[in-house]
Structures are given as C-alpha cells and as structure tokens.
C-alpha cells in the first residue's frame, strides 16, 4: 500500500503510525546532523544579535590594539624576533580559543530558559550536543579572529598568505580545545553570573600564562607549571611553529616540538571533552 493513500491526522500521508517515515537518516548521519543543527542554532542566534557581533569585533581592538600596541612600543626591542608577528599569531590563536570558551556560557542560558531540556531529551549523543555547541560558539571566535587580522593590518603587521592558511587550517582544533576546556566549568556551575566570572578568571590569566603577548620561555616555578597545564599554551606554540617554520629565528620563538604540541592539545582536549560532557550531562540530570 502506498503511504500516500493513508491520510494522517495532519492530512499528510501516513495515517497509521508505522507508515510515517519518521527516521530517515542513519545513526552516524543523525549524529553529524545533530552537530550541524545545534551549531546552526547558535550561529543563527549570533547573527540575530548585532551587539554580540560588535563585541566580537571590539575584543581584538581592545586586546591587540591597546595591550599589544603598548607592549610593542615599550618593550619590543632586543627580543631577537619580530614582536609584531609574534603577538599577531598569539592573538589569532587566543581569539579562536578564548572566544569559543566564552561562547559556551550560553549553555547556562539554555538551562535557565529550560531549553536544555529540549536538547537533552533528543535521541542523540551528548557529545553531539556539546560539539555542536562548540562549533556554534566558534563562529563568533572566527569573526574576532578576522578582527585581529584587520587590526594587525592597521598596525602594519601582516602574515604571508600560506602562513595565514595553515593557521586557519588549525583553527578547528584550537576552537575545539577552547570549547572543551569550558565544559569543565559548564559541568560544575549552573549560575550565569558565576559561570561568566569563572570563564573570565580562566581566560584572562591564560592569555598571559600561555604566552600570547609576552614570551614565557623564561617563566619558572608556579608560573611555569601553570603555563604547562593550559591547553592554550600548546595551541599558541603550535601556531607559531607553523608560521615560523624554516625561518632562522624559529628557535627564539617556538618552545616545543610541534608533535609535542599536537599530542598535548589532543590529550587535554579529549580529557576536557569527556570529563566536561559527563559532568554537564550529570549536572542537568542529577537534581
């Protein structure tokens, strides 16, 4: 019997329950589709809020233009490498990483609006929801990253096209890493104000600890330890490793072997993602 012959309650084909083709996608396709859907929702929301976009663009102006500009004028001499480029690459990575971390706080909004119940009752993996959220948050991060490049251009700091392309190729990894890190906070904190504070307290020190603007090769003691615990340290260093590849001042700029960087990023990201998603799903359910 053709399903089209049976009228359902909505007047559509499929009057009998089992005739309605309710699930069309395979299991794997459904998970990918879920990631895309959750991400698309966040991007739609971001695009619908001009003030958020302006903030995303203002951030690089503030950090790169002001903090970076001051440092460059007052301390850049005698470093043995181009401080402008050093800072530009650091800022690009920082924006990707940090803005994704900050964007994840909207998970708390979803909790407040009760919308997370709608997401969590969906028959998809919790990882798909979290990764979708990370992809969605990284949209504004990419906008900020473009802002950094524009501010850099205005300051006379540029990258070669191939350098830019390899950096952008690494961008998904850096966003994933930043988003995963914030899941640890999202799993533990349900209050929006507190979550925002916690994210700030994580991202701002991290900017200095991981050597975004100021080189950390001379750090020692506690600062040395903290810098090595921050996933962004490895992201920033990896970014510089690819940009400085084959250049004479490579050793002055890059701290670790890129393979070490990649391994550390992968391990820290996987750890944060697994622990964070577990904590998040549990905190929503265990009330």
């Amino acid at each position: 019997m053709s399903p089209a012959l049976v009228q359902g309650p909505d007047g559509l084909a499929g009057g009998l329950a089992r005739l309605v083709p309710a699930r069309r996608l395979s299991r794997a396709a459904r998970e990918v589709n879920a990631v895309v859907t959750v991400a698309a929702r966040d991007i739609t929301i971001t695009l619908g809020s001009p003030s958020g976009l302006v903030m995303g663009l203002a951030m690089p102006l503030l950090m790169m233009g002001m903090i970076g500009g001051m440092l460059r004028e007052n301390m850049a001499g005698g470093l043995g490498f181009d401080f402008g480029q050093f800072m530009l690459v650091g800022m690009v990575v920082n924006m990707l990483f940090m803005m994704t971390t900050m964007g994840m706080v909207t998970l708390v909004d979803d909790s407040d609006d009760n919308y997370s119940a709608e997401l969590l009752v969906a028959p998809v993996s919790r990882y798909s929801i979290v990764v979708g959220k990370i992809v969605g948050s990284s949209f504004l991060a990419v906008v900020s990253c473009l802002g950094v490049l524009v501010v850099g251009l205005a300051m006379g700091i540029t990258l070669a096209l191939w350098q830019l392309l390899v950096l952008l190729a690494l961008a998904p990894l850096m966003c994933l890493s930043g988003g995963a890190l914030s899941m640890i906070i999202m799993g533990a904190i349900k209050n929006k104000k507190t979550a925002n504070m916690a994210v700030m307290m994580l991202t701002f020190p991290q900017m200095f600890l991981s050597g975004v603007i100021i080189p950390i090769s001379q750090s020692s003691g506690l600062l040395w330890l903290l810098s090595r615990l921050m996933p962004m340290t490895y992201c920033v260093d990896l970014g510089r490793a690819v940009v400085w590849a084959g250049q004479p001042d490579y050793d002055a700029v890059v701290q670790f072997d890129p393979a070490v960087n990649l391994a550390c990023i992968a391990a820290l990201t996987a750890l944060c993602l697994v622990v964070g998603t577990f904590l998040y799903a549990r905190s929503e359910k265990n009330r």
Binding site: P9, R23, R24, A34, I45, L119
Partner: protein, 288 residues
C-alpha cells in the same frame, strides 16, 4: 503489552529531606490514554521527568517501549515526545526555526539553514500542523513576540513532528483559551486514533481526563487510586470526574488532618472493600 512500566519508583531530590515520589508503580498499555492527576506538588512533573530521561531516579525500575530508562536512555528518547510544563521554545528563534531544529535533532531531515531549502515534505508537514492548531500565520514570527497560548500551540506542533510512540503531556493546555483547548483535544484524539500514540497526560482541567482509559491519582508522591474514570466516578458516586476528584482530595486531606493514612490504593481491577460515601464535598475535614 505495557509500553510504560514503572516499578517502585522513588525520587528524592538533592538535599531534600523527603522523597517527592515514594515507591510508585503502574503500567500503561500500548495506545492507552493515561491521565496522571494530582494536586500541586504531588510529584507529577517529577515522575514525567524521570520517565523522559531528563531527571535521574533514586531507585526503582522504569521501562519505556521495552527499554530501560537508564541503560538504554537513547532508545527511550527515540520513542517519546514531550510537552514540558515550563514552556521552552527558544525565544531568540522563530517558531519555524524551533520546529526545524527539533525535526533535525530527531533525524527526520538533514538541516538546511533556510526554510526554502528544507525538503518539501518538511515544509508541508509544518504548515499543515501549524494550520491544524491555528497558528499557521505566526510560523515565521520570533517566538518572543508570540502570546503564551500561541507558543504553547507551537510546542504541540513541535512535539508531534517526529510522530512519537509515547507522548508525555505535562499540562499541555495550560494558558490556552477554551476554543483552542477544544481544538487541541480534537486533534490529539485524532492523533491517538490514527497513529495509535500512547498519551500520558497531567492536567488540572479534570474534564480533559474524562475520555482517558485510566485515571491515576497521585498525592504527596504516592499513588492513591488507579482505575478507569467510570470506576472512579462510581466509587465516589459522582456525576463527573472533577467532582469525584475533588471529593477524593477533600477526604484525603481530612484523613491526613486526623493523622490517619491517606486513602489506600485499591488494586486496579478489584472493587474497594467499602465504597466511600456518596455526597461530594462532605468529607472536607469533618469526618471522624
């Protein structure tokens, strides 16, 4: 075959002294219309949240469509639809975008960023469903600009998009006008008849449960009575379900005030040993 099986379900919220749901057991058959009634704070939403996998249980065993809610939660989610008591459309999106996100999360269609780009089958289904509940005109408006009742109607549309096997409705008609309530029930009746959907309803409009196959009364986290509505009316000698329900609650309150146990739950298919007295409202605290 029972599509919902609940055995000795207990829920004690974190840091709560008392459990909110105390050893509740019941079964709902395939295609049944099951009304879960009780006063504010009785434990209805708590029970529904556990059954729909959004809240963890303290102890007990629950199976939905044959799947365990804890070890097979994904399969359970695949079979259910829910209208939450607290409205939860995304207010920053349009109504259609909300429904699109839902349909894609349930694996019905691949996501497309534009409505026009979604498959014709999807567009047809959304528009028909929205028309049926009378909100076709508002489909593309931001949810934040819709009235509460209109939002509720879109939640109905959303919950039906994926043709759930079991539909949980937590006060679905709260905030709807009389005509909308009437139309919605007409429609839900058709859904039940034609799709064979099992409906698990909580409501404070008791007349909505008149057509139920089973009425289950829960009070202070305990099931007091579980039987067909006709049976309940007969027991209380009431003309309609609402009178029987109010009578039941008043008696129950009376017993509680006297420090006696609440009305005991008779087994579903056995008549109680002593049918309660007939006059409604008489038992309000005055019984000895």
């Amino acid at each position: 075959m029972a599509v919902i099986e609940v055995e000795n379900l207990v829920k004690r919220y974190k840091r709560a002294k008392q459990p909110s749901v105390k050893s509740v057991s019941f079964e709902v058959a395939e295609g049944e219309f099951f009304a879960f009634l009780g006063p504010n704070g009785a434990g209805k939403t708590t029970t529904i949240s556990i059954l729909t996998t959004t809240l963890s249980k303290t102890s007990g065993r629950v199976r939905i469509a044959g799947y365990d809610i804890e070890s097979e939660d994904r399969q359970v989610r695949d079979h259910i639809g829910i209208i939450f008591q607290r409205p939860n459309l995304d207010r920053t999106l349009t109504a259609e975008q909300n429904i699109r996100v839902h349909s894609c999360l349930y694996g019905m269609y691949a996501y497309r960023p534009l409505y026009r780009a979604m498959p014709a089958a999807y567009r047809e289904r959304v528009e028909r469903l929205a028309d049926v509940v009378g909100v076709g005109d508002a489909l593309f408006k931001p949810v934040g600009k819709l009235s509460g009742g209109m939002q509720r109607k879109f939640e109905v549309v959303r919950s039906l998009m994926h043709t759930p096997h079991v539909l949980f409705l937590d006060e679905p008609t709260q905030g709807l006008d009389a005509v909308a309530r009437h139309d919605l029930w007409d429609y839900l009746d058709r859904v039940r008849r034609q799709w064979g959907t099992t409906v698990f309803l909580t409501t404070h409009y008791i007349d909505e449960a008149e057509g139920a196959d089973t009425v289950c009364l829960i009070n202070r986290g305990e099931i007091a009575l579980c039987c067909p509505p006709q049976e309940m009316k007969r027991q209380f000698g009431a003309a309609d379900l609402e009178d029987a329900y109010v009578d039941f609650l008043r008696r129950d309150a009376g017993f509680q005030a006297d420090g006696e146990p609440a009305v005991a739950a008779p087994p579903p298919d056995r008549a109680p040993a002593e049918p309660p007295a007939a006059t409604p409202a008489q038992g309000a605290g005055g019984r000895s």
